[in-house]
């Protein structure tokens, strides 16, 4: 019965980390968008606005949860419920590190590893369309209806190239379990080039990766594919009639979906938790250097040129925390007695790093690109992405059939 206790502990831990990440992803998005647009972003609540997510939660809790009398009640409540449940459920099959041993107990990092992991996630995201479509229809509002319709047509149109783009790295890996897919990407060519799917012989999956990232933007209804909630045409699209925590539920689902799709991209194309170059060439020293550089910059700014009211206290504190993390990573890289800690920390660092870079890309694109027109959006999916995905799949299968052993 060990596995019951173990899964409960892991589930609690992952739920806590995930919910915190969701709240702070919102903060990061607002900060990054603000800096792209030359604004400071949230900075009133706590140092650098770091308590803003908490304030937002309190605000949403105390807002009026209005249920308009013109809505179709069962489906109106079902829509955000479905969205959140499916988005959180998808996280359960995503691994974020190798098998580890803590105090004699062997366990995987990640909740479970299904032999059909990828199909499980594809199934859940397909059902996710219902959340948006039902929300739009049940609201009994013309804008919401249009948003829901647009979004269901858009999500199913982009699901097709996405399914094809995900099938081509599978030709290299020949398994649907995420852990085994990452396992096939371990190792290096010529001693330095990682065997990630985007570099893997006989046919590097660069095209499939780009296709997947594009369709992932569309599947999560993000800019430039945010027509379901195009605020200057449709008020707020499918969630126009939703308020307070029901509105928060839709947002939570969107951010959880973002984390899921970026994790899948990392696992399938970017080698999961494997470092970008071998340990012999010093990949263990990247995390301490990054954290030390960040900590040093914060410490320096806090001591010499504090700009805000509390900067002379908060910046040095954060700088010291970062330097402490850097020291921990440096210890892992140098001291053999910290090997068990290293085996936990480094895979998590590389996995979180790659996922974080992709999440930053999502925010960066939102700050940079304008929205598609609807006919352009549909034409792009069917007459460009779909044929390209088919050609890429056939090319991959041809090269694998001819050149692999």
């Amino acid at each position: 019965m060990d596995f019951i206790v173990l899964s409960l502990i892991k589930a609690g831990l992952i739920a806590f980390v995930l919910l915190t990440t969701l709240a702070y992803l919102q903060w990061v998005e607002r900060k990054v968008l603000a800096h792209i647009q030359l604004r400071p972003g949230p900075r009133r609540v706590g140092p650098h606005g770091l308590l803003q997510p908490l304030a937002d939660v309190i605000k949403l809790l105390t807002k009026e949860g209005y249920v308009p009398s013109h809505v179709n009640k069962p489906f109106y409540f079902l829509a955000p419920f479905l969205g959140v449940v499916l988005a959180l459920l998808a996280i359960s099959v995503i691994p974020f590190g190798p098998e580890i041993e803590i105090a004699g107990v062997k366990t995987q990092m990640g909740m479970t590893d299904l032999s059909v992991g990828l199909l499980f996630i594809l199934g859940l995201t397909s059902v996710g369309v219902y959340g948006v479509a039902l929300g739009g229809w049940a609201s009994n509002n013309k804008y919401a209806l249009l948003g829901g319709l647009r979004s269901s047509a858009q999500m199913i149109s982009y699901e097709l190239p996405m399914a094809l783009a995900l099938a081509s790295p599978l030709l290299l890996a020949n398994t649907l379990s995420f852990r085994e897919i990452v396992g096939t990407q371990e190792g290096f060519y010529f001693g330095f080039l990682p065997r990630w799917a985007i570099f893997q012989m006989p046919f590097p999956q660069v095209v499939a990766f780009i296709l997947y990232v594009i369709t992932a933007f569309a599947e999560t209804n993000r800019v430039p594919f945010d027509l379901p909630e195009a605020e200057n045409e449709l008020v707020a699209g499918f969630h126009t009639e939703y308020s307070s925590l029901k509105f928060a539920a839709f947002f939570m689902a969107e951010y959880a979906n973002m984390i899921t799709v970026t994790s899948i991209a990392t696992l399938l194309f970017l080698g999961g938790w494997h470092p970008p170059f071998p340990r012999e060439l010093g990949s263990d020293f990247i995390p301490p250097l990054l954290f030390a550089a960040g900590g040093a910059v914060m410490l320096f700014h806090g001591v010499t040129q504090p700009r805000g009211k509390w900067d002379n206290i908060t910046l040095p504190v954060f700088g010291l925390i970062f330097l402490g993390i850097a020291a921990l990573f440096a210890g892992c890289a140098v001291l053999p007695m910290l090997e068990p800690v290293r085996q936990i920390l480094l895979p998590v660092f590389w996995f979180a790093g790659k996922t974080g870079i992709l999440l930053f890309l999502f925010i960066w694109v939102r700050g940079t690109l304008p929205r598609f027109r609807y006919d352009q959006l549909m034409r792009f999916a069917w007459t460009f992405l779909f044929p390209v995905a088919v050609v890429n799949l056939l090319a991959t299968s041809f090269f694998v059939a001819v050149f692999s052993n």
């Binding site: 596995f3 009026e64 499916l86 099959v93 479970t112 199913i156 399914a163 649907l176 925590l245």
Partner: protein, 138 residues
């Protein structure tokens, strides 16, 4: 290393319970928390403050159904690809030729619907007679 089905799927059950608790908590919370004030203006569908004209249960463009139908046709092809990709290294060239034939057939259908204009959203829809009024695309 868990191997049996209960061990593999128990974490998913736990996660499902957590997800249902979070989602249910959010929706129930919005029902019980916060003050409630109802009035007629607030109860109208929100359409930028204008008086709503007509109902939202309108007829909409048939193209949305068309996309749904096309999606089902082509997504079945995508479903076939996954088991094919998993056993690919055992079958090699045989699997490639078989799938090539299948994809060529699917692509023939794809080019047919493309030339028929089913994928063209910018084309002006042929007007449909609905009683005395003439409707255009939504």
């Amino acid at each position: 290393m868990p191997t049996s089905y209960p061990q593999l799927y128990f974490p998913i059950l736990v996660q499902a319970v957590i997800a249902i608790a979070v989602a249910g908590g959010l929706i129930a919370g919005s029902y019980f928390l916060g003050k409630k004030v109802r009035n007629r203006a607030k109860d109208m569908p929100y359409e930028c403050g204008m008086q709503p004209q007509g109902t939202a249960r309108e007829r909409f463009s048939v193209k949305f159904y068309l996309v749904g139908m096309l999606f089902i046709l082509f997504d079945i092809e995508a479903v076939f690809l996954y088991p094919w990709a998993v056993v690919y290294r055992e079958l090699k060239m045989f699997a490639f030729v078989e799938m090539l034939l299948f994809i060529v057939l699917v692509l023939a259908g794809f080019f047919y619907i493309w030339k028929k204009g089913a994928l063209d959203w910018s084309r002006e829809e042929t007007t449909v007679q609905g009683g005395s009024e003439t409707r255009k695309a939504a």
